[in-house]
Subunit: 358 residues, 2 copies
């Protein structure tokens, strides 16, 4: 049994293909009676359009904008960028163009400026990492009014229903970190939670990671065995950063673990290296080169992979699926919480990430 075509439906309904087409696209100019008959037949025959034929016939062009951090300020953004570009390349032959608007991830003003640029381009869809909560809200409203669908990634924001959110369950990643620490030291331990280099008030996901970790111990009735110390650190002033760490580790000699909620675990590793500290284990996020360096040296025990490349890729992919192929897409797409260590690292880098999962 072959696939049902518009022709087949037209034949069964004793109308022409054009009429069926009008019904399919709800373009009107079809009598109620015929419309219902056709609709019923479509239902019965379980018609599914041939997406390739559809894409082939249409010459509509789609223009998407990706609003992401600029890798020149933070190398983390190399991966999302690469993922976006890969998706853009694949979608090019379907008439999709993607413009990158890259902001300074440390500067809200820059974000606003680039978001304005993005708006001015009047794209058919937007993919963005809404790093600055306060600043992004007015844009959400504007895009909604203009009916420009947008997909969020990297940072979850519940409000203002986007077309889709791609990212990780930050809370759950904190739980994973809890497990790794607990498994590494079942008798109990002293843990430093370090939020490095991101404004915590504007970054809900950092708090979620922290909560996930804390709740792991509470839920498992281990909270009296594990002491948790929290620190917000900033690298703008490196001397001060070191000073703060000095003070923390001097006053807490019993510390055995360090959980870094941002991609800056390597900074802690570097500090340990300089101070000849090697008894404190580090769990962090993101497979950026500096982190990998210390992962391979054994200074970092585990990294939780947020698959930034995949996030960028699937972000564009969602836009394409929805707008070009008019497929149903899921409103939220959690990527797996990959536990990465020196031994399985190879399979998480490169663009193998795109193929190896669905």
């Amino acid at each position: 049994m072959k696939n049902i075509r518009i022709k087949d439906i037209a034949a069964k309904a004793k109308v022409s293909a054009g009429t069926v087409d009008r019904v399919l696209h709800d373009r009107g100019n079809v009598s109620e009676k015929v419309k219902e008959r056709i609709l019923k037949i479509i239902e019965e025959m379980n018609y599914e359009p041939n997406l390739m034929a559809r894409a082939l016939g249409t010459k509509k062009e789609y223009h998407f904008v990706a609003l992401i951090g600029d890798p020149r300020y933070d190398a983390y953004w190399l991966d999302p960028k690469a993922g976006i570009q890969k998706a853009a390349k694949e979608a090019r032959q379907y008439g999709v163009k993607v413009t990158l608007c890259m902001f300074n991830p440390y500067d809200a003003t820059s974000f606003v400026k680039k978001a304005e640029e993005a708006s001015k381009l009047n794209p058919d869809g937007i993919l963005l990492a809404p790093m600055f909560y306060r600043e992004v809200l007015p844009f959400f409203e504007a895009w909604k009014k203009q009916e420009i669908p947008f997909v969020l990634f990297n940072t979850q924001i519940a409000e203002f229903d986007p077309l889709s959110y791609i990212g990780q369950d930050s809370y759950q990643s904190g739980q994973v970190a809890g497990k790794l620490i607990h498994y590494g030291q079942p008798q109990g331990s002293s843990i430093l939670i370090a939020h490095i280099d991101e404004e915590i008030s504007n970054s809900a996901h950092l708090t979620k990671k922290e909560q996930g970790l804390r709740n792991y111990f509470i839920q498992n009735n281990l909270d009296h065995q594990y002491e948790i110390i929290k620190a917000e650190l900033n690298l703008r002033n490196y001397a001060m950063f070191v000073e703060q760490l000095d003070s923390i580790f001097e006053s807490n000699p019993q510390l055995q673990f360090c959980f870094v909620t941002t991609s800056k675990a390597f900074e802690i590793a570097k500090y340990f290296e300089q101070k000849f500290i090697n008894h404190i284990r580090i769990v962090g996020y993101d497979l950026i080169p500096q982190n990998l360096h210390y992962l391979n040296k054994g200074a970092i025990s585990f990294l939780i992979n947020q698959n930034p490349l995949g996030q960028g890729y699937w972000g564009i992919n969602q836009l394409v699926s929805h707008l070009v192929f008019k497929k149903e897409i899921s409103a939220i797409k959690f990527l797996p919480l990959d536990i990465v260590t020196k031994e399985n690292l190879n399979y998480y880098i490169e663009d193998s990430m795109l193929y190896n999962r669905f």
Copy 2:
């Protein structure tokens, strides 16, 4: 600038589209001179065929056979089967049909019988899990003679170059297990390697996993701190299975870890449950329901995910990519060594993570 079409190349080369087409498909009947000219232009203009138009235009039907284990004998095979079926469904509209041939994974004769069935169907391609090394070799030869391309998955066999191999690096997964054990007990420990329910002589991957584990400790100069005990166990006779375990744990009271190289970690967990043993940590393979039960209870610490669903999916996908879309495909596709624990489990089983492709 739009995509280059055959027409564009034809115009530049001052020939007709038909001639370009002949060159593209190497169908001959083109003079050397013209062929080279066209080839050069194709190169220059960086032509990439429109795959949708290609798939649309051809009415050729493809018939693939998937030769896998029957889930009725071992629930492990549910996942590969599901992955294959998902890929088959997606590929259906390109004229692809997939027939499943499922053998009893504990019975080489059954494998041979089903492999013969598969051959008789004279398919355009075969995806198979070559579980029985000796028995599968003659089929490889036959298929090669018949020019039926085949893709291997699940079990790696180096010889008889298949179109592609999909699976895990078994050796490296042993290394991961080593890391998990070392991290959990840095001072050294006593480890049981359990090969359960598979004939080790016919399953090279079990040995590779073992080697990976052993070498982890050797490479890190820890081999004098970690004592490794090896056991080959069989579940045909459960009483004997228990007896063997009894004897092992009685004579090795210092055991702290158990590394199960097959998907039968839950059998060890069950045994521990019955014997009220809870100080020995288990690392195993495969997210099958029984394993997940004990993972959630905490009896199993980690499972290494072989992503069997993905293996099935990508196996069919490779055949489709190669034969239907005539894409270049990689000869080997290692899937990541996912470290799965209770806390990140959800993201490896939900099929909401089955990303849509376009």
